[in-house]
């Protein structure tokens, strides 16, 4: 069975087991002594149609622009705010906050408890299925250098490598460390490191590329997807073939039982003849090839446009584009200065939203809740939502224009379910929930619980309408508290699945 299929089956099994557990929990949840009063009897006649919605109750004013811009920065440059983060950005201002993100001091600290599976065991990221995903998700949740993690995620998508073909979580994690080490450094260093990275050499057949038997896979993708871009006149099919020759020479040994080993450059596997690339001729080797790519006049514009697109959904104007390219080239292919300029650019704070990638959404939920990794569910939930780390769909990475469909939307809703579950208000046990809470207070409390996110006026009004109309008109005294507890749980779920929280 191909590994994908096996994984898919395991995942399904996992999902089914989990679903069973949930159903079991649902069936066996403690029942309030009076509950049978309303569960047994079906209504004698069909319920009346819902009354016309009342005008929504008046909510307190939404957060101000500074608050909203701080949120925007924390989501785009990281994985959303932890409690207190927004206030910090507001107090120091955007420019200082960007500087802190782009130029952090020292090595990253992971704050909070170490990740565990649901049985309390430490993760086995190199070995257990899905634990590589959990291991990185944990860094996204806990690192005090969130931009470094976000940039690592961006370059994982940019140089998308899938364990589907690599077949080694250890090699994928090694590549991940390589990306992280260079994610805010020089793109030249990053490209150089990834060209010789074992996972990449397997993924795009670098180890199959040798003199006399040239494999074009990496040569094509490094131009099309990593440095220059297709269909813009940056290179020809002849350049693909010639560059592939220059890139030849890497090798590794297959060892039964342990996979690819001993990655190395073997001069006699290299095609040492003369090549002509972008009109220049020489006995180019792989390092010459990378130099030619970076010196290609189309590279800086490709880099800036692609990087910008990860942060801002509308393209930069001509002057901004030119200024960013100059910044990039003058800094010797520096990533940090360009990122810094993008994060400070007014376009980042404009109205247009971006759909959060599923892992960003997931990490953000946990950061908001102050919760660490304590279940392996996040790996298969990532699958359901459309993003399993280290398993991008293909070499062009995830398609961030189509994160949402009916199936992945439900996956995100399941993420919210799993995220909220430990902290949900139990309607039937535990402390009695406020039996007199009015609709406005209910929405306000749900907004506080979810970190005070900026929501659009129409979403706030709809939440208020829901809060004002979801409870029966007349309730028995025993229903007052539990039904309001349910309303509170429902409001939190609605906020976190709303388009305003999925895209911001």
């Amino acid at each position: 069975m191909p590994p994908t299929l096996l994984k898919k089956r395991l995942r399904r099994k996992h999902h089914r087991q989990h679903a069973r557990r949930l159903r079991h929990a649902r069936r066996h949840r403690p029942r309030h002594q009076d509950e049978q009063v309303f569960v047994i009897e079906p209504p004698a006649q069909p319920p009346k149609p819902k009354p016309k919605p009342k005008p929504p109750p008046k909510l307190p004013p939404p957060p101000d622009t500074n608050h909203r811009n701080a949120e925007r920065l924390l989501w785009r440059a990281g994985f959303g705010p932890r409690p207190g983060d927004v206030d910090h950005v507001v107090s120091v201002g955007i420019d200082a906050a960007v500087h802190e993100l782009v130029y952090p001091t020292g090595t990253a600290n992971l704050i909070g408890p170490a990740p565990r599976d649901e049985d309390g065991n430490a993760l086995a990221p190199e070995d257990a299925w899905g634990h590589d995903h959990l291991w990185w998700l944990d860094r996204m949740v806990r690192s005090d250098q969130p931009l470094a993690e976000r940039m690592t995620l961006i370059f994982h998508d940019w140089f998308a490598t899938s364990n589907d073909k690599v077949g080694s979580q250890r090699m994928m994690l090694d590549q991940n460390a390589t990306i992280r080490a260079n994610a805010l450094g020089s793109f030249k260093d990053l490209l150089t490191a990834l060209t010789q990275d074992p996972a990449m050499l397997v993924w795009l057949d670098g180890i199959e590329n040798r003199a006399g038997d040239v494999n074009e896979n990496y040569g094509r993708e490094v131009m099309e997807l990593f440095t220059l871009g297709a269909d813009r006149g940056a290179y020809t099919e002849q350049d693909v073939r010639e560059l592939a020759r220059a890139l030849s020479g890497f090798d590794a040994d297959w060892v039964d039982g342990s996979g690819w080993q001993n990655f190395r450059y073997v001069p006699r596997r290299h095609d040492s003849g003369s090549k002509t690339v972008f009109g220049q001729t020489g006995n180019f080797d792989w390092q010459d090839a990378l130099r030619l790519l970076l010196e290609n006049l189309y590279h800086a514009s490709f880099f800036v446009t692609k990087l910008w697109g990860y942060f801002i959904p509308t393209p930069p104007d001509g002057a901004t584009q030119a200024a960013l390219q100059k910044l990039y080239v003058d800094s010797g292919y520096g990533i940090a200065p360009v990122v810094e300029a993008i994060l400070k650019h007014p376009d980042l704070y404009a109205d247009r939203a971006l759909v959060k990638p599923p892992v960003v959404f997931n990490a953000g939920l946990l950061r908001m809740l102050g919760r660490g990794i304590d279940t392996s569910a996040w790996s298969w939930l990532g699958d359901m939502a459309g993003q399993h780390l280290f398993l991008p769909p293909n070499v062009s990475g995830w398609d961030d224009s189509t994160w949402l469909d009916t199936s992945t939307w439900r996956g995100r809703s399941m993420m919210v379910t799993y995220a909220l579950e430990p902290k949900h208000v139990d309607p039937w046990n535990g402390p009695v929930y406020d039996p007199a809470e009015d609709a406005v207070t209910a929405v306000s409390r749900a907004l506080v619980f979810t970190g005070g996110p900026t929501l659009s006026t129409e979403t706030r009004n709809t939440l208020a309408s829901f809060a004002g109309s979801c409870l029966p008109g007349a309730m028995a005294s025993w229903q007052q508290s539990p039904y309001r507890a349910m309303r509170q749980n429902a409001l939190r779920h609605l906020i976190l699945t709303s388009s305003d929280w999925q895209a911001s």
């Binding site: 299929l5 247009r352 769909p393 293909n394 309607p427 429902a490």
Partner: protein
């Protein structure tokens, strides 16, 4: 290529402001409940769902004249056609397949070509073929075959040998002929949308199993649960000038519509609430076909449906151990599905197309077979013409890569399906449609 494929692979409609929101019209609740013959009523009585979940969406779902349905079943990995329809009468067969050849004493005869025999695991297809319900393409493919799973599958999915095509062939058909408000018109019974259904415009849906499309929220039950689920849709229907948010909200409305449409198919515990008049094999694939039969019987407005078989057909090694079981699992489930449709009186409305991205190399590699070129495809149903389209090309003359030559083109099959089954001009969907012949796939 990658980018294009990714778009087709994950494609959803680009949503524009002002697109219509799901509307409920047509059938009354009562007539829906009557039509679904106790199933929904049983759900209603059993689980206190209330009529909320059966409101407009489902009523709308059941309204209108029933459409014909095309079910596309994909065998992922490149199925070895020669293990389905074995060329036991070809003199080179035993020589090319010293360990994997099907013994000539097994299986059943294939009337249109005495060289071929249905293998035992393909018995389900053999049975239906005997009843005149299977149109057979013994060697289907395209010129200059690509042996990459990724590329060849992409070609089949987009209905063109075009690496840059963005939308699926059925997605393009639905963009032209589909509805603006019915996500179930194109349904992938899988964890994500089939690239063949990827449209530019109209809503479509992916649902692994109808009974799975539930939303459990801890600490939310009656009477708050139903209003909360309705609020998903209320929040989705809010207008916004931001196209990104509009897209996210459009999906929320589709979720709401699909949830309403599928609510009758699950018990409160999330188990299937439907029964089948026949007994399906015990497999995930068969269970999804059983659900499909029930959804069709309930009158849901399905039109183009895709399902992946859960077998693994990329049999580079260990083929003798895994492939017979996977072929049998697929063919038995397809036979049962056909019997289900017949028992429910739906057989004239549904046509199944069974395909894989390529066949495998005639010469085995010792324990398996590598990627090949021409493969087999089948069009199955009561209305299937039952003909053989193109001939088996024989093993004496293979192509330059030692693979089976194609004697029919998958795009010709698509053109005929569009014109003869869906009643739509294929020129508007399949590039170069006029250059392909039109095999007879549907009984006139």
């Amino acid at each position: 290529m990658r980018n294009a494929a990714a778009e087709a692979g994950r494609g959803l409609p680009s949503v524009e402001p002002g697109m219509p929101t799901p509307a409920g019209t047509g059938l009354s609740r009562r007539s829906f409940l009557e039509r679904s013959a106790g199933m929904a009523l049983a759900v209603y009585g059993a689980n206190r769902l209330g009529l909320g979940a059966l409101r407009e969406g489902v009523a709308a779902a059941a309204s209108g004249a029933p459409q014909r349905v095309l079910v596309s079943i994909f065998l992922p990995g490149g199925c070895d056609g020669m293990s389905v329809l074995a060329p036991v009468g070809d003199t080179r067969y035993a020589q090319l397949r010293p360990t994997l050849a099907i013994p000539p004493s097994t299986g059943t005869p294939f009337a249109p070509d005495a060289r071929l025999r249905w293998s035992d695991p393909a018995g389900g297809l053999s049975t239906l073929h005997g009843e005149g319900k299977v149109t057979v393409f013994p060697a289907i493919g395209y010129d200059h075959p690509d042996q990459s799973h990724f590329t060849s599958r992409h070609f089949w999915e987009v209905g063109a040998t075009d690496a840059h095509a963005r939308y699926g062939w059925l997605g393009r058909y639905l963009d032209a002929a589909g509805a603006d408000d019915n996500p179930l018109q194109a349904l992938s019974l899988d964890s994500d949308l089939s690239p063949a259904l990827a449209p530019a415009r109209v809503p479509v849906a992916a649902v692994e199993r109808p009974e799975d499309f539930d939303f459990w929220v801890p600490g939310v039950d009656d009477p708050v649960k139903e209003p909360m689920l309705e609020a998903f849709g209320d929040l989705g229907r809010l207008a916004t000038s931001d196209p990104v948010k509009a897209g996210a909200r459009k999906v929320a409305t589709e979720v709401d519509t699909v949830r309403r449409q599928l609510a009758p198919f699950a018990t409160p515990d999330g188990n299937p609430s439907y029964n089948s008049p026949v007994t399906y094999p015990d497999s995930d694939f068969a269970r999804r076909l059983a659900a499909l039969g029930a959804m069709l019987a309930a009158g849901l407005p399905l039109h183009c449906v895709t399902i992946n078989s859960d077998g693994g057909f990329d049999t580079h090694s260990g083929q003798a151990d895994s492939l017979p079981g996977d072929v049998k699992g697929t063919c038995d489930a397809v036979l049962t599905f056909q019997r289900d449709l017949e028992a429910r009186g739906l057989a004239d409305r549904v046509l199944v197309v069974l395909w894989s991205e390529f066949g495998r190399r005639p010469e085995e590699n010792g324990s398996g077979t590598d990627h090949g070129a021409a493969g087999t495809a089948f069009v199955i149903g009561a209305k299937s013409s039952g003909q053989m389209i193109g001939e088996f090309p024989g093993l004496a003359t293979l192509d330059d890569d030692d693979n089976l030559r194609a004697t029919s083109d998958f795009r010709a099959m698509y053109c005929s399906l569009l014109e003869q089954w869906l009643g739509f001009d294929s020129a508007a969907v399949i590039p170069g449609a006029s250059s392909f012949d039109r095999p007879t796939l549907v009984k006139s």
